[in-house]
């Protein structure tokens, strides 16, 4: 048993952290937060140039042929830096789906372009309030329906769209978002540093992913894998938020002593540490299950997701509290973590849904 990343993987993490600390300052995050742009194009281009979008794709399709563990350490650093780029949509969701279930022709068309950052893809599944009911439908190669919120829906070139076929079976379709039958509208969300849109498809053209029977089980598997990777993003965000709170309360004095010396504050950070370490341990287990394609990946992924979501919410809210009044200002970065925590514990399914997955999968396990 070995429960740590390899030297090489830790080196990639260190390189990623160094790169992002230079290229993805809070100013970069705020340049997306404060404006109408959907993502930070210069940063995205540099990330593409570093090969991160190609990392887990096969060499035959322009990828680097590395594994999920390398992707996990990069995810952690993207989360730490609050990177305002469509990485999760394009890499964990679109690329993974086409790599796993796409036809030969789809793989040949999409994967090299995704690897090279020429195409950005996303997953369009949610259709508004409530959980997972899909009304979008496909007849032949014509799709109709509305999806919201779609992460990176305003900037992606194409989306994997869930819709019912003529038999009423849920299937995955590839939809070009730049065609006439697609209307996109930017949505204001809790985290404007990541672009979201609603997508209305009116007699748009859709192409079934793979052989046309890629449906609910594939979607579940795709989301499980993404859950582990997103847990690493959440983990990175937890670390950064907590570090900022520790640094601030050590320097700020009240009643003649550092705020961090009061037990009311210290115990708050101790509880944050507990939440963080549990989330980290579960994320590591999830990474291991992902890399080994272990049979308990569904439970491990849901557990990693629940644990990371709980931790990020807790840490990001208590970090505001530890900062006092300054934590509530626009100027301080506390709200950036709080916003991202909200986003990440909703995208690909809420905490509530993933807790149901944990319960179901745990009770099914032997």
């Amino acid at each position: 048993m070995n429960f740590e990343f390899s030297e090489d993987q830790l080196f990639i993490r260190e390189q990623a952290r160094n790169f992002l600390s230079q290229e993805c300052s809070a100013d970069v995050v705020r340049s997306v937060l404060d404006t109408d742009v959907a993502y930070h194009e210069p940063l995205w281009q540099k990330i593409v140039d570093l090969g991160w979008t190609a990392m887990a794709l096969p060499e035959a399709h322009g990828g680097l042929g590395l594994g999920y563990l390398e992707l996990c350490v990069v995810a952690q650093e993207l989360g730490r830096a609050l990177a305002p780029v469509p990485f999760s949509s394009s890499v964990y969701l679109a690329s993974e789906a086409i790599k796993t279930w796409g036809s030969q022709a789809q793989q040949e068309h999409y994967l090299p372009r995704l690897a090279a950052g020429e195409l950005i893809g996303t997953l369009a599944h949610s259709e508004g309030l409530g959980a997972d009911a899909v009304a979008s439908s496909v007849t032949g190669d014509v799709i109709n329906g509305t999806k919201l919120p779609v992460p990176d829906g305003g900037s992606a070139h194409f989306a994997l769209v869930t819709a019912n076929d003529t038999d009423g079976e849920l299937c995955l379709y590839l939809v070009d978002l730049q065609q006439d039958g697609v209307h996109r509208q930017t949505l204001q969300t809790l985290d404007p540093s990541r672009g979201h849109a609603s997508i209305t498809m009116h007699n748009a053209t859709a192409q079934a992913l793979g052989n046309g029977s890629v449906g609910a089980p594939a979607l579940a598997e795709l989301l499980d894998r993404a859950a582990v990777l997103l847990a690493f993003e959440q983990l990175g965000g937890c670390e950064a938020a907590m570090e900022s709170g520790i640094a601030y309360t050590k320097e700020r004095y009240a009643f003649g002593r550092p705020v961090a010396s009061f037990q009311a504050i210290k115990h708050k950070f101790a509880d944050m540490f507990v939440a963080l370490e549990l989330a980290r341990a579960n994320a590591y287990y999830g990474a291991c299950a992902l890399a080994c394609d272990a049979p308990d990946l569904p439970l491990a992924a849901a557990t990693a997701r629940v644990s990371a979501g709980d931790a990020y919410y807790y840490i990001s809210k208590e970090n505001i509290q530890a900062h006092g009044g300054m934590g509530f200002t626009w100027e301080f970065d506390c709200h950036l973590y709080y916003r991202r925590a909200q986003l990440l514990s909703s995208t690909i399914g809420t905490q509530h849904q993933w807790k149901q997955h944990v319960a179901t999968r745990l009770l099914q396990a032997a």
Partner: protein, 407 residues
């Protein structure tokens, strides 16, 4: 990153499993072993002797001290396997986990060879004597005096919360040898023979009715100077070694209440409906499982670090803190879930043989023993996160001048 045993560990696992199959009864539930006091003590001694004879005692200790000379990974494999059997494998964890390392670290070689093998096979049972009525979380404020008497030391004072003292042959005791210097500097650590007239043990009746802990009184108890562990005045350093070993020793056996909760959810029907269908139960199940699984994996990470030559740091406090709180919350939740009958504490009427009712009353103690929740948080905040210490009113004062409050 992988889940696989190395070939060596896989072989050890097979060997351990085969031996356990032949020598212990497989568990069919996750319930407490039942039976306390002398009967449990004797059963524990018999089990430890049996595994010592088979070479499975104190796996990480050197062979000359009664161990097996194996690695901490072997220890993990053993713990994973033995938990499937009804044994008293954790009966003497305090002596072996806390006192053992202190002796290994501070006692002369001859003493180690004499005492440690007897400890490993539980021919001698050990207890740890630190806490006092006026020195709990502030354990360095202890008052038990040790005074020189020729080649011996004479001990007077009182200890409290000593697990297993009633049945112990030896103890490791922290004493004050100099009240005129600061509280941390005037302490000295000793081994003590508990079977002597100057040592009086009185069981404490706990709020749950059990008697796990004791008060220990010293009336001119005698300790030869060669039973001293470390320098005179160097007791605090030794005590920290013991306490750090304790956290590591208990991190694997810390009760969380989760396996019993899962068993209950899987098996219980209320009003003709499986409780597993109750949305509130499912929500709690997911939350507690994510914490429980997190502790398991955190333990694996700690073991990986130790196996690579690192040390188990204050992170070990994590398991103590999370497990103790979860244990109480689960117990309370279950008693509520069971309806008005949830207050009945009788094996034949209460699911899991009244495990949750027992836990409601015992769990407050778990949050206090071995370092309170609050001490654990201070350790994490100060030693792991590097936050500044609380200002101390007794800093730099001679021990005898420290205010004690009305007595």
């Amino acid at each position: 990153m992988d889940f696989e045993d190395t070939p060596e560990l896989a072989a050890f696992r097979r060997e351990a499993r085969a031996w356990l199959d032949a020598n212990a009864e497989r568990r069919t539930d996750n319930l407490h072993m039942g039976m306390e006091g002398e009967a449990a003590h004797l059963e524990g001694k018999a089990w430890y002797k049996k595994k010592a004879d088979a070479g499975f005692a104190c796996l990480t200790w050197p062979k000359e001290y009664g161990g097996a000379g194996l690695t901490s990974l072997h220890d993990v494999v053993w713990a994973q396997e033995v938990q499937n059997y009804r044994t008293r494998d954790a009966q003497f964890v305090i002596g072996i986990g806390n006192c053992g390392p202190a002796i290994m670290h501070f006692a002369p070689e001859e003493t180690r060879r004499e005492l440690l093998p007897r400890m490993a096979s539980a021919e001698d049972v050990w207890c740890q004597l630190f806490s006092e009525p006026s020195a709990g979380s502030d354990v360095a404020g202890l008052r038990t005096r040790a005074e020189r008497d020729g080649d011996n030391w004479k001990l007077n004072g009182q200890k409290i919360w000593t697990s297993g003292a009633l049945y112990s042959d030896f103890g490791v005791v922290l004493t004050r040898t100099d009240p005129t210097v600061s509280k941390y500097k005037g302490l000295t650590l000793f081994m003590i023979d508990m079977r002597q007239p100057g040592v009086e043990v009185r069981p404490i009746k706990q709020m749950d009715g059990g008697q796990h802990f004791n008060e220990v009184f010293f009336h001119d108890a005698v300790v030869p100077d060669h039973y001293r562990l470390g320098e005179v005045g160097g007791g605090w350093t030794g005590a920290l070694t013991v306490l750090m070993s304790e956290r590591l020793a208990i991190s694997g056996v810390q009760p969380t209440g989760f396996p019993q909760f899962l068993d209950m959810v899987r098996s219980l029907e209320l009003n003709g409906e499986p409780v597993a269908n109750d949305p509130i139960v499912r929500d709690r199940l997911a939350t507690w499982y994510s914490q429980y699984a997190g502790l398991q994996s955190a333990n694996k990470r700690m073991i990986t670090a130790v196996a690579k030559g690192g040390i188990a740091g204050a992170e070990a406090s994590l398991g103590k803190l999370v497990g103790a709180v979860m244990n109480q919350e689960i117990a309370n939740f279950c008693c509520q879930l069971f309806g008005q009958a949830g207050i009945i504490q009788e094996a034949q009427f209460s699911p899991q043989r009244a495990h949750f009712q027992d836990s409601v009353l015992f769990s407050p103690g778990v949050r206090l023993a071995g370092g309170t929740d609050e001490v654990m948080r201070n350790i994490i905040a100060e030693q792991v996160l590097g936050l500044p210490q609380e200002p101390r009113a007794d800093k730099g004062m001679a021990f005898k001048d420290i205010p004690t409050g009305p007595s």
